[in-house]
Symmetry: C2
């Protein structure tokens, strides 16, 4: 039985918009341990009164006046940038971590079981709110039916009802240029954590609030720290995981992450109440949540998948994740922020997803390649994970019931989950 | 109550590999009528003894000796071609139809309800077989793990068990060059209906026959006849429907097809026991089946969707279908067979699917565009329909339960299906 830990999200545990292998871990654990981790959404500034006010840790993280900014760096960019802000918004997510797993070595596989996900306790009389942004980096930008303003950015605030497992639209508004608390003018939504001033916008409550969005609570970002000698943006996902934005990484799913640095240095962020395949507008229903994770290690010489890439396992499916650039840091390095978004294509991500699925089916499921190709055509579904995170994603959905009579099925048939509430909350730095 | 008809598949009712608006209809019906239509797979030559022998109509259609070839033209290509064969294999599917719907005019929408789908009665003691080909036009071709023969074509024969709703692999073989009954040498699987000679291949029964492929019976081809002054290949799907290859077009689904010619001239073909999103290897489990369809008309001035493109409605979802080239005949015309396959991309199909979904949500579901974009990002799933039919497909899956509290839901909430067996079988030419 592993030990149990609890990590609150605060200025000691959270980074904003980047990974860096030189960041010291906030917690060291052993394989088998269970850690409950708070994750804060980076879009709470879209509705301060609903999503921040009254939540002390949120207020601390988001604090930004002309004299104090709790988290100065937001993104991997220039820390002295005056045009957009420190870190330049090259990377936007609130990341909790890293968590160091004792004994993890490069080449190992870190298995992260998502034992539970629950909404962050509401400071608003048990009412919960999430924000969706139709962003300048969204797929719709510049290509709207409304030709008069094809380049607007729109925030949609959702009522999230965890007990009913749905969300309803609440109100929306056209995002307007903001002057942040450091005095920088933002023509577009180009820097995270700006508190939108109520007087600058016009809230539109005349929207269809009867639409039922089924919740798909998940973490957009689940990753290990990349082995890269520099700051890394939180936006593009890659072989280390990161901002995969696959909604199947929800409760009772596991993610398998190839370790790149000693201790793995696990990070989590970008909590979503719901998202569709493609994340078309650039964001999901961004929503603060807490996850309970169990960490185990598969040693290098036991890697059963033959893949140096994240895999998601749900109770009923294997999800093989392809990317436009499977190892983009190697390909683009520091220039990725400028280049990768322009060069990504769904076609390239599909090619990667196909190749990885072929390896998974032959290596892990022990099919011949001829069998694997046939199964892929008649029973595997390829879908578009996201087209908004610079490095596009395509995933393959392999249903486990294909294999229920085969030997490999027994490996996961009787999986059990620890679902009872954690009572002991230790938090060691 | 509409009239009921039955159309067997035989040399009077079937065409091989093409559409043509000058082909006279095989049946004229009124809106509201129900027609049961036999569809034959064009891959039965892969296992003559299992998929043809003993079935008189199959034997007739596939008959091809040095003195008689029941169906000479196979494809839209040159009828005098000596290198590949008459029609050149530019279009490969066995098509039943066309069926003329009285009163249908260009601009109307033909609604086709799929009331039932059942397997073609087996001549093999109630054993059923389907064929999957890893084809030269498949996505895997030239990109296999086995670098020694990355360009092989492989046939996989499946046992199809309709009562258990699954299929299991039975045997496979590497497809070998064939000399057809007209004496033409085929280095690759480039002409439909060739009977593979048992002595040329080596059947491999040592495959994993315990894999369970859940059946998804559907018709790859459902379409109206395009308004085009020439032969049209059956391969690329387009705004008239055709070879969409979306497995959601199964029992209890409907497809809405924009009419291009008087009478609509409905056609159906390419019956599949199962297929995954992408149809990666170039084919599904190709399997002869019979469908029961009810035809109704939505007149031009009532078009509720605002789209000149096929839409699939399942009991729980709306499927908006995008294509790399939404109207490829206009774009490429006769040269499509040479050009479109080279120019298609999933990215272009995604763009088309996004735009159409935006129109559907604003026009049919009466959302504002701001609401539509947000819903698309948080609740709509974009998937890869196929990447092997020259004109690639991406579809959007819109779950109806999003709208269950809205007015539009009542339009389809209480749909009922006629599922009792047809007793009166009329067949009028």
């Amino acid at each position: 039985m592993g030990k149990k830990y609890y990590i609150p999200a605060n200025s000691n545990t959270v980074k904003w918009g980047y990974y860096n292998k030189n960041i010291p871990p906030i917690l060291k654990i052993d394989p088998g341990d269970v850690v409950t981790i708070e994750v804060l959404t980076h879009h709470a500034g879209d509705a301060y009164d609903l999503m921040i006010k009254g939540d002390k840790n949120m207020e601390e993280i988001y604090e930004w006046t002309n004299i104090k900014k709790t988290i100065n760096r937001r993104g991997m960019g220039d820390i002295n940038d005056k045009s957009i802000g420190p870190g330049k918004g090259y990377g936007v997510h609130l990341i909790t971590g890293p968590v160091y797993i004792n004994g993890a070595k490069p080449g190992d596989i870190l298995k992260v079981e998502i034992l539970d996900i629950y909404p962050r306790p509401s400071p608003n009389k048990n009412k919960y709110y999430g924000s969706n942004l139709a962003a300048s980096w969204g797929y719709q930008y510049g290509d709207l039916l409304n030709k008069h303003s094809p380049k607007k950015e729109v925030v949609s605030i959702y009522n999230v009802l965890p007990s009913k497992k749905i969300a309803n639209p609440y109100y929306n508004y056209v995002w307007k240029p903001q002057i942040d608390s450091s005095g920088i003018y933002h023509k577009s939504y180009n820097y995270p954590g700006i508190i939108v001033k109520n007087k600058t916008i016009r809230k539109n409550y005349k929207i269809n609030n009867k639409l039922n969005i089924k919740l798909r609570p998940h973490f957009g970002i689940l990753g290990v720290t990349p082995n890269y000698n520099n700051m890394v943006s939180s936006i593009p996902p890659s072989n280390f995981g990161g901002n995969i934005d696959n909604w199947r990484a929800g409760k009772y799913s596991s993610i398998y992450l190839p370790v790149q640095v000693d201790g793995a240095n696990f990070i989590v962020g970008d909590s979503h109440a719901s998202q569709g395949d493609s994340e078309l507008s650039g964001t999901a229903i961004e929503f603060s949540m807490t996850g309970k994770f169990r960490f185990t290690l598969i040693k290098k010489n036991e890697n059963p998948f033959g893949l140096n890439s994240p895999i998601i396992e749900t109770p009923t499916e294997w999800i093989i994740q392809g990317f436009s650039y499977p190892d983009y840091l190697k390909e683009f390095g520091k220039q990725s922020q400028e280049l990768i978004g322009k060069k990504s294509s769904i076609d390239a991500a599909m090619r990667d997803a196909y190749r990885k699925t072929n390896i998974f089916l032959t290596k892990y499921m022990k099919l011949s390649e001829d069998e694997a190709i046939s199964i892929m055509s008649v029973a595997v579904d390829f879908g578009i994970t996201q087209i908004v995170d610079m490095n596009y994603g395509v995933h393959a959905i392999i249903r486990k019931n294909i294999f229920k009579n085969s030997n490999n099925f027994n490996k996961y048939k009787n999986r059990k989950y620890v679902t009872k509430k954690i009572k002991i909350h230790k938090y060691k730095k």
